[in-house]
């Protein structure tokens, strides 16, 4: 009786440990995979323009994916990866242009159009009243 109980406990422990080990590996790999995809979707493939690194199968894109994975495995955050790539390749590599003198119009124009449109609407409504 006792040995049967012991065996059951042993099996249970082994089962739990196996589950835990699978869970851990699944989480860690999918986590870094997802993070890599998130980063590569926001990077421009420099030799196949119009595509992101994520979409491209070019040599450059494949190396870039490996590079980003290894950087993440070394404990770097998304922002650190982005900023190190901007340092190396310039602002052009990211699809999210930062605010600078060159991109000021890009950022300000929608806001300006929104304000002008709003002003026209407000004016029309008040005129009706």
């Amino acid at each position: 009786m006792k040995s049967k109980k012991l065996l059951k406990i042993k099996i249970l422990i082994i089962f739990i440990l196996t589950c835990l080990s699978f869970k851990n590996s699944a989480i860690s790999s999918s986590f870094s995979e997802e993070q890599t995809i998130n980063i590569t979707k926001n990077l421009r493939c420099l030799i196949c323009q119009g595509q992101t690194i994520h979409e491209s199968n070019s040599d450059f894109a494949e190396s870039m994916k490996k590079y980003i994975k290894s950087e993440l495995e070394n404990g770097k955050t998304n922002d650190e990866v982005f900023s190190s790539l901007i340092e190396k390749y310039g602002q052009w590599i990211v699809y999210d242009p930062g605010i600078s003198r060159n991109t000021l119009l890009l950022w300000a124009l929608p806001l300006l159009l929104f304000l002008i449109g709003g002003a026209i609407i407000v004016k029309k409504i008040f005129r009706k009243i």
Binding site: E62, S63, E87, K88, Y89
Partner: protein, 180 residues
């Protein structure tokens, strides 16, 4: 009143016309502009703290140990499967023989046998050659293809970057920079 309305209408159409003309010129010049982008480093410092592997004896070394003792270094990323690299090798040999630069080769995504054959055929301009099997070292340098050449000084600052094979003008420029 009618007169005012008329002026308003004509001003409105004038504004639209001006906007159309402006957008025409914006598109005209924007589309004419060269679209091939060459990456610009925001900070001209090269990252050197990583391990590299020698092509010949396959030993590993930290790259910042390689960059010691000289005033100028030329890092050339090449491969045996890269056609323009063949034309480039004579310029690299010229630089090796006539300048005090330390020539460093990065063998990009290549097979050792093919790389050695290439050096036998076209000459070996390099003092040290490292392998970049996965293309990660090239990304560390901010490169995106072969051939690509970096002229750096002893502060690890990139003085010049050449995308594509070197030519006469580039060699002249490199000689001029390294003379001073």
């Amino acid at each position: 009143m009618q007169f005012l309305e008329k002026i308003k209408k004509s001003i409105f159409s004038l504004i639209i016309l001006i906007l159309l003309i402006i957008s025409f010129f914006v598109f005209k010049f924007a589309l004419q502009k060269e679209k091939i982008y060459t990456p610009k480093m925001t900070d001209n410092q090269i990252f050197t703290d990583f391990k590299v592997q020698f092509l010949i004896d396959e030993k590993q070394i930290n790259f910042n140990k390689v960059l010691t003792g000289k005033n100028f270094y030329l890092i050339n990323i090449w491969s045996s499967w890269c056609e323009p690299c063949k034309d480039e090798s004579e310029y690299l040999l010229e630089l090796k023989n006539n300048t005090p630069i330390m020539m460093i080769g990065i063998n990009y995504k290549d097979k050792k046998k093919n790389a050695l054959n290439f050096l036998k055929l076209y000459g070996d301009p390099f003092e040290q050659i490292f392998v970049d099997k996965q293309g990660l070292i090239s990304i560390n340098f901010g490169a995106y293809g072969v051939p690509e050449t970096f002229l750096i000084n002893n502060d690890n600052k990139v003085l010049k970057k050449y995308i594509g094979p070197l030519n006469d003008e580039d060699v002249y420029e490199i000689k001029k920079i390294t003379k001073n």
